[in-house]
C-alpha cells in the first residue's frame, strides 16, 4: 500500500506541473492578443489628445503630456472651417436611427406573420426572404444607384435610407424568436375581441425586447459604419455621413495626425458608449449567427 502511494506522488506532481505550464502559455497568448487588439484603440484615444509633433516621435508616449483640445476643435471645424462634421454626424444619426426603427418594426411584423399564421405560400415566401441573404449589396449597388437616380432621390435622406429599411437577417431572427411564443396568449386575446394589429402592438411586440434591442443595435451599427452606399448617393457636402467625412478629412493635404485621430475618436464614441452599456446585446447579436441554420 505504501509502495503504491509513493509511486503515485511523482506522477501526480509531474501532471500538475504540465497543467500549470499549459495554463501559463494560455494566459500568455491571451494577454498577447489583448495587447494586439487594444493598443490601436488606445493609440487612437491617446493620439487624439496629443499635438501632431508628439504622435510621430519615437518612442511613442502612451501618456499624453496634456490634453490637446485643439485637435478636437480642428476636427469639428474641418480644414475649411465649415463645421460640416456636425452636419455629417446629424445625417449619420438620422439615417442610422431611422433604419434601426424600420428594421425592428418590419422584421417584427414580418417575423410574426411567418411564425404565427398559416397561409398558402408561407414557406415559399420565407425561402424567398432568406434567399436575399445570398445577394451581396456590393453586387446590386450599381442598379440600386440607377433606381435611386431615376426616382430623383439621390443626395437625400430617402435615398440613403430606402435600401436598408429591413433585412433578411432581422426577419429570420424575429421569426426564430417568435416561433416559441405561446399561441394560447394570442388566442386568449382573440377571444377577448382584440384586433390582430392590436395583438401585435400590445402583446407580441412588447414581449420581444431582447431581440429588438439586439436587432436595433445591429441595424444602427450597419448604417453608422456604411461607407459604400453614401459614397454613391450622398454627393453634396451637407448630405454626407460620418464615414465619408473621415475619408475626406484624412486624405486632405493639410490634415495633421492629432486632428485625424480626434475625428476617429468622435466617430467611435457613440459605438463605444453603446458597447459598454449594452455589450450583451452586441455579443448576442453576433452569436445568433452560430444558430443560423435552423
Amino acid at each position: 500500500m505504501q509502495l503504491v502511494q509513493s509511486l503515485k506522488t511523482p506522477i501526480r506532481s509531474l501532471k500538475t506541473a504540465q497543467i500549470t505550464w499549459q495554463k501559463a502559455l494560455i494566459w500568455f497568448l491571451l494577454i498577447l492578443l489583448t495587447i494586439f487588439t487594444l493598443t490601436p484603440i488606445l493609440y487612437m484615444f491617446t493620439a487624439s489628445a496629443m499635438p501632431a509633433k508628439d504622435i510621430m516621435k519615437m518612442p511613442y508616449r502612451w501618456v499624453p503630456k496634456g490634453f490637446e483640445y485643439e485637435n478636437f476643435v480642428k476636427a469639428i471645424k474641418g480644414n475649411d472651417g465649415s463645421f460640416i462634421f456636425l452636419r455629417n454626424i446629424l445625417n449619420s444619426l438620422i439615417v442610422a436611427v431611422t433604419c434601426a426603427v424600420t428594421t425592428v418594426l418590419l422584421s417584427a411584423i414580418t417575423g410574426y406573420g411567418l411564425a404565427k399564421f398559416r397561409f398558402k405560400g408561407r414557406n415559399l415566401l420565407f425561402m424567398m426572404i432568406m434567399a436575399t441573404m445570398m445577394i451581396p449589396f456590393e453586387a446590386i449597388m450599381i442598379p440600386l444607384y440607377m433606381v435611386v437616380t431615376k426616382l430623383g432621390i439621390q443626395n437625400s435622406y430617402t435615398g440613403l435610407i430606402l435600401p436598408f429599411l429591413v433585412n433578411a437577417f432581422g426577419i429570420f431572427m424575429m421569426r426564430q424568436y417568435l416561433v416559441t411564443f405561446p399561441t394560447e396568449f394570442l388566442d386568449a386575446a382573440r377571444v377577448d375581441g382584440m384586433s390582430e394589429p392590436g395583438i401585435f402592438t400590445k402583446i407580441v411586440f412588447p414581449n420581444c425586447k431582447p431581440a429588438i434591442a439586439t436587432l436595433a443595435i445591429l441595424a444602427f451599427r450597419a448604417q453608422w459604419d456604411n461607407l459604400l452606399w453614401p459614397l454613391l448617393v450622398a454627393q453634396s457636402e451637407n448630405m454626407k455621413t460620418v464615414p465619408l467625412y473621415i475619408v475626406k478629412f484624412t486624405t486632405e493635404m493639410n490634415t495633421d495626425e492629432g486632428a485625424m485621430m480626434a475625428v476617429a475618436a468622435i466617430a467611435s464614441i457613440p459605438m463605444f458608449v453603446l458597447f459598454f452599456s449594452l455589450s450583451n446585446y452586441f455579443i448576442s447579436g453576433t452569436a445568433v449567427f452560430s444558430s443560423r441554420k435552423g
Binding site: 495554463k23 494566459w27 491571451l30 492578443l33 489583448t34 487588439t37 487594444l38 493598443t39 484603440i41 493609440y43 510621430m56 511613442y60 418590419l106 422584421s107 411584423i109 414580418t110 410574426y112 406573420g113 399564421f117 398559416r118 397561409f119 415566401l125 424567398m128 436575399t132 445570398m134 445577394i135 451581396p136 449589396f137 456590393e138 453586387a139 446590386i140 450599381i142 442598379p143 440600386l144 433606381v147 429591413v166 390582430e196 459604419d225 461607407l227 459604400l228 459614397l231 454613391l232 464615414p243 473621415i246 475619408v247 484624412t250 486624405t251 495626425e257 485625424m260 475625428v263 476617429a264 466617430a267 467611435s268 458597447f275 455589450s279 452586441f282 452569436a287 449567427f289 452560430s290 444558430s291
Partner: protein, 303 residues
C-alpha cells in the same frame, strides 16, 4: 356544420392577416433586392454609360468576354483571392484556438471577450484611419517590428510596397474581425453538452484528446459556418482598401473586386461592365453559400 364553417372563416381571417403582415417586406425585397439583381444581369449584356443620352446598345456577352480577357479584372480577382485566403485562414485558426482558450479559463472570460471584440465596434473607415498612422514610416508599426527583429531604423514600407500593402490590409482585417469570430466559436462551444467531457474524463482522456476527439468533430458545423462567413465577408471587403488607396497607397495590389466595381461604375460611368462584374461577384458568392448549405446539411449532429 355551422361550427365548422365558423372555424373555417376564422382560419381564413387569420391567413389574411398573416399575408398582410408579411406583404410589406415582400414588396421591399422585390424592389430593392430581386429587381436590382435581375437588372444587373440584364444590364450586363448592354453597353451603357450613365451620362450618355444614347440608348444602351445590346452587346451580348461582350462585357464578360472583355472582363475575362482584361488584365485589370484578373488582377482584381487575384487581389481578392489573395486577400480572402490570407485573411480568412489565420482568422479561422486563431479564433478557434482563442475561443477554446477562453472557455477553458475560469476567470476573466468576459474581459477577454470584450477586449477581443472591441475592434469590431469601430467602423472600417476608423480602423483604416488608425492603422494608416500605425503604418506611417515614423509610426508604431515600424517601431514595433524594428524592436522585435532588431532592425533599427528600417522602414518596412507598409503602405508603399506592393507586397507589404497587401499584408497591411490583411492585418487590419484580422485585427478587426478576430473578436467577432471568437464569439461565434464560444457560442458554438457552449452548445456542446458538458456531460460528454465528464464522461471522457472518467475514461481518462487527456485535454488534447478531448479537443481532437470531442470538441473538433462536434464543432464542425460552426467551423463550416465561420469559414464561409469570413470568406464571404473578405470577398466583399472595400472600406480599408478604399481609404488606403485614397491616402496614396498603390492601387493595383489591393484593387479588390468591390473597389473595381465602384471605380468602373461610378468613376468611369461604365454601367454595363460594372454590372457584369457584379454578376461575377454574385456567382462566386453563390457558389460559396451553396457549399456551406451542402456541407451543413450533411453535418447535422445529434447529441
Amino acid at each position: 356544420m355551422r361550427q365548422k364553417t365558423k372555424t373555417k372563416s376564422i382560419e381564413k381571417h387569420l391567413s389574411h392577416w398573416g399575408i398582410t403582415f408579411v406583404l410589406p417586406s415582400i414588396v421591399f425585397f422585390s424592389l430593392f433586392n430581386f429587381y436590382p439583381i435581375l437588372n444587373a444581369l440584364y444590364t450586363s449584356f448592354f453597353k451603357k454609360k450613365v451620362l450618355s443620352l444614347a440608348a444602351p446598345e445590346f452587346v451580348g456577352l461582350k462585357n464578360y468576354i472583355y472582363l475575362l480577357t482584361s488584365a485589370n479584372f484578373w488582377n482584381s480577382i487575384r487581389a481578392t483571392a489573395v486577400f480572402t485566403i490570407g485573411t480568412f485562414l489565420p482568422l479561422l485558426l486563431a479564433s478557434l484556438i482563442f475561443a477554446v482558450f477562453i472557455t477553458s479559463i475560469k476567470r476573466g472570460n468576459k474581459f477577454y471577450q470584450m477586449a477581443f471584440y472591441s475592434p469590431a465596434v469601430l467602423s472600417s473607415v476608423v480602423s483604416a484611419a488608425i492603422w494608416l498612422l500605425i503604418f506611417d514610416p515614423r509610426g508604431l508599426g515600424n517601431q514595433w517590428v524594428n524592436n522585435l527583429l532588431g532592425t533599427h531604423g528600417t522602414d518596412h514600407n507598409w503602405l508603399a510596397d506592393a507586397m507589404m500593402v497587401q499584408l497591411s490590409t490583411m492585418i487590419v482585417y484580422f485585427w478587426k474581425y478576430i473578436g467577432y469570430f471568437i464569439i461565434i466559436f464560444i457560442a458554438g462551444l457552449a452548445s456542446i453538452p458538458k456531460s460528454l467531457y465528464e464522461a471522457a474524463r472518467i475514461d481518462g482522456t487527456s485535454g488534447w484528446q478531448e479537443f481532437w476527439r470531442i470538441t473538433l468533430p462536434l464543432l464542425k458545423p460552426t467551423i463550416v459556418l465561420v469559414s464561409i462567413m469570413s470568406m464571404l465577408q473578405c470577398l466583399k471587403t472595400f472600406g480599408i482598401q478604399y481609404l488606403f488607396t485614397q491616402s496614396g497607397a498603390p492601387q493595383d495590389p489591393i484593387n479588390v473586386i468591390t473597389m473595381n466595381i465602384y471605380n468602373t461604375g461610378i468613376r468611369d460611368h461604365r454601367i454595363g461592365r460594372a454590372s457584369a462584374m457584379s454578376i461575377i461577384l454574385f456567382i462566386i458568392m453563390l457558389v460559396f453559400t451553396w457549399i456551406q448549405f451542402k456541407s451543413s446539411k450533411s453535418d447535422e449532429v445529434e447529441y
